[in-house]
């Protein structure tokens, strides 16, 4: 057995994160008197710092026993996830303080979940990928049901948990089949085995891929594996909804990209149509059902389902171009979505309201939030000046170049549908006058205002001059196709 490269230094950022977890939990435990919002700042700072540190691995191309790769792709997602988590930690501050118990564990779990996400992006081997996924999922299960005295939260948690377990069982079965074929769980070996292209185990391969798609489709909420999404999103604490709709989803795609490009690329034609079909169904159902929603979290759930549909296009016509287009779109989507959630959280913390109708008069009571909301929603709807337009355009164009014009057509059409319900939200925020006796200006904490502004700047950056980001992404995804 050849000499393994067991280089633990590769995981310094993760170790630091673990340290951060210990620190935060300890802080909460042994210094209960400190202001709880301090924890959120600490977590955010730690995550951001680690993100900075992990920049040191740029252009390092190495791996741990072939199990986990540290290349620009990993680095990109490390930074991406850590910064995202930092934003979420900051955004959670007031919410946790006022509505949740055990803040220390909350931030700890958040951080652990981030590690799981990174693992998903980094792993080049099925077992590791699966375990990272479970790490992310378990943390999410706990966090979703974190409002322990809130029936809705528990219910959401239970649904997410049971269905999650169920689908991961399916995923595992699929993995076992693939293992049976390849005799190994390394993506490279799998790819080699499939590449051999003997028809004896074609069916097993197909079944395996179907089940893998099922498991990961559940993770990223693709139709018909999406059913948990609206319920979990609605029940969970808002910040966690934010987490689910951004990082957890992105992690799913990071894994999908790595896995499908690394292991299944060779049999592209055998599975691309599955993804394409799922993508179409996802776009249509997600955006359609969103029309009927009245709870903002639920609406965002469906809208994110729709977004998943677009992103799956990138998987369906998998190639370097589509991959980078996909990651680009994912970035833009994540930033825009975070703006929306920052606004929702701020509004919820101040008014305790999360029904769309209760957004009325936001223009009067919190102009900045209203503005940011409008911008972000336009971005999600894919209108120009904002991130959504460019990224969507490029993603769809990429899909078209891979021969998926019809998918792009559905995508464009459904994004018009999405515009409808986004506009409905905007109508509440801008057109409707505030309800009786609720006209005074809200005092939005500076943290939230700052977040909204900074994220909006991000949205504009991606929307107006994405060359830099696009280059980075392109370079990162290049490592998937060596």
């Amino acid at each position: 057995m050849n000499e393994l490269n067991l280089d633990y230094t590769l995981f310094i950022p993760e170790f630091l994160l673990v340290g951060l977890v210990v620190l935060v939990v300890g802080l909460d435990l042994f210094a209960p008197q400190v202001r709880k919002s301090l924890l959120s700042y600490a977590t955010a700072a730690g995550l951001a710092a680690t993100a900075g540190i992990s920049l040191a691995w740029i252009d390092v191309e190495s791996d741990f026993a072939g199990v986990v790769a540290v290349d620009n792709y990993t680095t990109f997602f490390r930074v991406f996830f850590m910064l995202g988590a930092a934003v979420i930690a900051l955004a959670s501050g007031r919410l946790v303080e006022e509505r949740l118990r055990h803040p220390g564990e909350y931030y700890g779990l958040l951080t652990l979940a981030t590690i799981g996400a990174i693992g998903m992006a980094a792993s080049r081997e099925l077992m590791t990928a699966y375990l990272s996924l479970e790490l992310l999922s378990f943390s999410s299960y706990v966090l979703v049901s974190y409002q322990k005295y809130e029936g809705r939260s528990n219910e959401a948690g239970l649904k997410y948990m049971l269905l999650g377990a169920f689908s991961s069982a399916l995923l595992l079965y699929g993995l076992s089949l693939i293992y049976g074929i390849a005799g190994s769980t390394y993506y490279s070996d799998v790819s080699a085995a499939l590449g051999a292209g003997t028809s004896e185990y074609e069916w097993a391969m197909l079944m395996g891929i179907v089940l893998v798609i099922t498991g990961l489709g559940f993770k990223v909420a693709a139709v018909p594996f999406h059913m948990w999404t609206p319920d979990a999103y609605e029940g969970a604490p808002v910040a966690i909804t934010m987490f689910l709709s951004t990082i957890s989803k992105a992690a799913g795609f990071a894994l999908l990209l790595r896995l499908f490009s690394g292991a299944f690329e060779v049999v592209h034609d055998d599975w691309s149509w599955m993804i394409a079909g799922i993508s179409a169904a996802t776009m249509i159902l997600g955006n359609l059902v969103a029309l009927q929603q009245h709870n903002i979290k639920r609406l965002m759930a469906y809208s994110s389902i729709g977004q998943v549909g677009y992103m799956l296009m990138g998987i369906a016509g998998l190639s370097h171009e589509t991959a980078s287009a996909l990651v680009l779109h994912m970035t833009g989507y994540m930033i825009s979505n975070m703006v929306v959630f920052v606004v929702i959280i701020a509004w919820y913390v101040q008014t305790g309201k999360e029904e769309i109708d209760e957004f009325r008069g936001m223009r009067e009571r919190a102009p900045l939030l209203a503005g940011a909301l409008a911008g972000a929603l336009f971005s999600l709807a894919g209108l120009p000046l904002f991130a959504g337009f460019v990224t969507k355009f490029i993603l769809f164009q990429a899909a078209v170049d891979e021969g998926y014009l019809w998918l792009a057509g559905i995508g464009v059409t459904t994004s018009v549908v999405s515009l409808y319900y986004y506009l409905q939200v905007m109508r509440r925020a801008f057109v409707d006058a505030p309800a009786e006796g609720e006209t005074e200006r809200l005092r939005i904490p500076y943290v939230m205002q700052g977040l909204a502004v900074i994220l909006m700047l991000g949205v504009f950056y991606v929307g107006l001059y994405p060359q830099g980001l696009f280059d980075i992404v392109d370079n990162a995804t290049a490592f998937l196709f060596v």
Binding site: L131, L135, Y146, E202
Partner: protein, 164 residues
């Protein structure tokens, strides 16, 4: 000789499983569950991976089932059939059979590579060795998962002050 055992274990496993998903009383269901798990352990032995069998018996048949029994008693309510089983049994059957059909189709269609119908026993030691070298990362992640589960379970389940 071996295959006789195999069929016995298989029978246990399947019977136990069926019992688990069919019987009305949750407690009986749990007992059937244990039986099935033990059967699985037997299957491991046939596969000459005694280590797994061990873990199976200890972890599952031991800890897990106890946990489950506790949970069942804690959440016990009067058990009418339609409360235990959903209205969609028929659909469930169809779904499960459909899946089964698919899987069987796979099995029947597939010629497993490198399958020379002989099994290789794996020594404990080398497994442990592998876990701490090549598979260190997954191992650590798994420990992380367990930690999360632990902490989560505590946070969610613990009685807090001010709670009835």
């Amino acid at each position: 000789m071996i295959d006789v055992f195999f069929y016995i274990f298989a029978a246990t496993v399947i019977a136990g499983a069926l019992g688990t998903v069919l019987v009305r009383s949750v407690v009986y269901a749990a007992l059937f569950f244990i039986a099935s798990l033990v059967g699985v352990a037997g299957v491991y032995i046939l596969l000459s991976v005694e280590f797994l069998a061990l873990v199976q018996v200890l972890l599952y048949a031991g800890a897990v089932t106890v946990l489950i029994l506790f949970a069942l008693t804690l959440t016990r309510v009067e058990e009418l059939r339609q409360r235990v089983d959903g209205g969609q049994r028929a659909m469930a059957a169809v779904g499960a059979l459909g899946l089964f059909g698919v899987l069987v189709a796979v099995m029947s269609q597939t010629e497993w590579p490198r399958d020379v119908n002989q099994l290789t026993t794996v020594p404990f030691a080398s497994i442990g060795d592998a876990i701490f070298n090549r598979w260190a990362v997954p191992f650590e992640i798994a420990s992380g998962v367990l930690l999360v589960a632990l902490v989560g379970a505590i946070i969610l389940a613990m009685q807090e002050e001010g709670e009835v």
